[in-house]
Amino acid sequence: MRIEWAILLFVLQSFVLFGQGGFVGGARCAVCHAAQAETFAANRHHASTCEACHGPGLAHVEALDPEKLKVYAGSQADTVNRACLGCHAGDRRQAHRFESAHARNGVGCNGCHKVHGPDIRRQSSDALCSSCHAGVRASFERPFAHKLSQGAVHCADCHDPHGGQPASRVRTVGGHDAACMKCHVDKRGPFPFEHAPVRVQPCSTCHEPHGSANPRMLTRSNVSQLCLECHTATAGTAGGSPPAFHDLRTARYRNCTVCHSKTHGSFVNRDFLR
């Protein structure tokens, strides 16, 4: 007789839950998934229920079948991203998410973020970036580098992992300035006499932003080599050749910045002499 009552109770409960759209509530999930429930309580998402991401759990509870739930482990990044953006799409920081290099290369939100753990990130942000971008991380070990290893800068100071405006791999500050100008304020301009490549090319044309074996993080080991890449008479490209008195046999003229000291732009001199 008790079994019949139990079956009747179960059927009635199922009808009630079905009437609620098949949701069972987080407490029911915690019965089996106690470990996840415990860490999830410390996560920023704890105000949401499990079923907000995994879908209604009734079918899963009844059949004890993982296939009856939305499970994201092993899913395509696009599937994960769509689930997260279901809530986060309105966030201005996610505005360029679907065109970001991460999204295009199959790195989903859960590649960096934990939804169940107490901290939203899997590791500290720099360690997280380094775990995939090993080559970039190794560049910071070069003698002339931004001091990432000393904790002076972080990857996210310059890069937005959620993607930025097209044609830009770095953050912008104060409207249009590249993130470099947040620290290198004196290079900001606008200068009354601009050195054109500084404005129309990225800083990485002349500098290795992550690290270099060359002083001042230059892409070439001596200054004249760098300058002469543009400043030679060539049809079809801008730059122009230095005047004839620049005798490159002498050390004086192989050190261009000794005279042209304001190479990033000058306040008063069109030849960047002062």
Binding site: S75, D78, S131, A138, P192, V200, A213, E229, V258
Partner: protein, 609 residues
């Protein structure tokens, strides 16, 4: 400077309170070996007591995370506060100081071969930066936010003063400041959201050169007896930013972005010098140089982008984006020139840049995603002339570049392994400068394999070859990293990275004196890596050992080593003792060796929740 110590004292007083958790690490550092300019230019870590790290968390109704790093005189210090309460506010504050020192004689010193080892371009700069943002009612329908960025720097150094006919290395002082205040609101509806932000920026930059008698670089009859030179630049600007996101239908998303800014700058410049100078145009000698000039510049700039993602089928995505940027920089120096007469000048730089990109990507099951697309860049610029050659004549430059894009991502074993490959190729076209991409091929493969839950191996390979007018450039990079991070109970963890990178450049140029073609070759064949391991010893002690290295062969051979080890030993209760040794060795055109020894205490509060 005192803030972190106050923070430490507060923590010690408050540690009995239940919701507080975290740890504090205080040490004293000793430096032995070479502590000269080369050491300071590369490492610059100093001696004395330091607050190495402090991380505190208050988890009550509000959750507040405070972290401090490297305070007490180090070149890089950071204080970070992250406070939030659900649906009420989010506040993020970051304050940091940065010291930059660079004094390497091998950089741009024409007298180095003659035994003159003093650098002609040296910098000793200290910078302070405050960045804060407050968001009210996050994730509500309307979320207002305000932000402040304040950066200031000051320092001294050596810079060349170019008198007529000679250059003189003179001491200089400089200072700059930037303040940006911004505010706006995010408006979020179910199918769309919009953000409007308005900002205001103030900017200042100054430089003073003061010198007495100076023989100059030529070491001939030309001399500088006295120099006083002052630059003063002040500027301001406003900017407006708008972002619109919409997903009117499940298969369609839009993002629009608009930014307008208008920075402008006013400059005054004064120069008063006496000595023996030569006018290269007339070859006449004179002994006084006086300039008073004013200049100004403005840069109205507008940029916008529009991106669309359309999903014709559930597993196919068509993405299109358009980006446009246009600015004009007008500069003028209506100079009042005194002795000798110098010319006034005007400069104008116009740029219009448009980029469109289309890409189609599709998922084949749970394992494979492929994508293919096309990018087109069209840009026109009026650049200032290279004045010495073409006085007063501007240069028109254009970019017209078609680029093919393709890629694939492979997900294996339920996401345990992922390999992504991308190729990009352009057949060439027009470009601004010889350093720009023109006829280029770019390829990248990146992969990650989670061998077990604790062992992960990742690797990447990249190659870029670019052929521009008279320049061949090739860059190749291969990198591998391995992380073995077992559960806390295990005794050993290991993180290691190795990268091999080569850069080869061959550039043809015309010798300006003899009109003779010549070739400039540059190569950098580098090995870089790091490996760090933690060993849990009996009694709760932890040994951290490892280091990093960087070798470069080629045009500038360099060897740089940074081995290190650290022992942490529990002393009593929450207290642990720390001893660390580091060795820095740099060997290139200049060299140094230095040992760093640090000894200190760590205190752990209640573990973080």
């Amino acid at each position: 400077m005192r803030a972190p110590w106050v923070l430490l004292a507060m923590t010690l007083c408050l540690r009995a309170q239940e919701p507080l958790s975290g740890e504090i690490d205080v040490r004293n550092r000793f430096v032995t070996g070479d502590r000269g300019d080369v050491y300071r230019s590369v490492v610059n870590l100093g001696e004395g007591p330091r607050l190495f790290d402090a991380g505190l968390r208050y988890a009550g109704k509000d959750r507040v995370d405070v972290s401090a790093h490297s305070w007490g005189g180090d070149p890089n210090s950071e204080l970070r506060v992250d406070a939030r309460r659900d649906k009420a506010y989010e506040f993020l504050l970051q304050y940091r100081t940065l010291a930059y020192f660079n004094n390497l004689p091998s950089y741009a010193n024409p007298l180095l071969a003659q035994g003159m080892t003093a650098s002609q371009r040296a910098i000793d700069l200290r910078r302070r930066q405050l960045d804060a943002e407050l968001r009210l009612r996050p994730r509500a329908r309307f979320t207002p936010f305000v932000g402040l960025l304040r950066t200031s720097g000051d320092g001294r150094g050596v810079t060349p003063f170019v008198g007529s006919g000679d250059e003189f290395a003179v001491p200089t002082r400089f200072g700059d400041g930037l303040t940006t205040v911004r505010g706006g609101v995010e408006w979020t509806e179910r199918r769309w959201s919009a953000t409007v932000e308005q900002g205001y920026t103030r900017y200042s930059d100054s430089q003073d050169l003061d010198s007495g008698a100076n023989p100059g670089n030529r070491n001939d009859a030309l001399t500088l007896n006295r120099l006083v030179e002052r630059y003063r630049a002040t500027g301001n600007g406003v900017y407006t930013r708008g972002v619109l996101q919409a997903h009117p239908w499940e298969r369609l998303s839009f993002t629009g972005h608009f930014v307008y800014s208008r920075p402008k700058l006013d400059v005054t410049h004064q120069l008063d010098a006496s000595g023996a100078f030569r006018d290269p145009n007339t070859l006449r000698m004179y002994n006084s140089l006086v300039e008073q000039s004013a200049a100004d510049a403005s840069q109205p700039r507008t940029s916008g982008s529009w991106s669309t993602e359309f999903r014709p089928f559930s597993r196919w995505r068509l993405r299109h984006n358009w980006f446009s940027d246009a600015f004009q920089i007008s500069g003028a120096s209506p100079t009042a020139a005194l002795l000798p007469a110098i010319q006034s000048g005007r400069m104008r730089l116009n740029l219009r840049f448009d980029q469109t990109e289309e890409e189609l990507s599709g998922d084949f099951g749970r394992m494979l995603t492929v994508r293919a697309g096309h990018r087109y860049i069209r840009s026109d610029a009026d650049l200032p002339a290279a004045e010495l050659v073409f006085a007063g004549v501007g240069q028109a430059a254009r970019i017209r570049r078609h680029t093919a894009l393709a890629g694939a991502t492979l997900n294996l074993w339920k996401g345990r392994a992922r390999v992504s490959a991308d190729v990009e190729a352009s057949p060439g076209g027009e470009t601004y400068f010889r350093t720009g991409l023109q006829d280029y091929r770019k390829a990248a493969v990146q992969g990650r394999y989670r061998v077990t839950n604790t062992l992960q191996v990742s690797g990447s390979w990249r190659r870029l070859s670019n052929r521009n007018t008279g320049i061949d450039f090739r860059n190749q990079q291969l990198a591998v990293t391995a992380e073995w991070l077992p559960a806390k109970a295990r005794r050993v963890t290991l993180v290691g990275t190795y990268a091999r990178e080569t850069v080869e450049s061959s550039s043809q140029f015309l010798d300006p004196t003899f009109f003779r073609p010549d070739i400039s070759l540059y190569s950098d064949r580098g090995h870089h890596g790091s490996a760090y391991s933690d060993f849990r010893l009996p009694g709760g002690a932890v040994l951290h050992a490892g280091g990093a290295f960087s070798w470069s062969e080629g045009t500038r051979p360099t060897k740089y080593y940074m081995p290190q080890s650290r022992v942490t030993v529990p002393v009593h209760g929450r207290w642990s003792g720390v001893a660390e040794w580091r060795w820095y060795s740099y060997d290139s055109l200049e060299r140094f060796r230095g040992h760093l020894l640090t000894i200190g205490l760590q205190m752990r509060l209640r573990p973080a929740p």
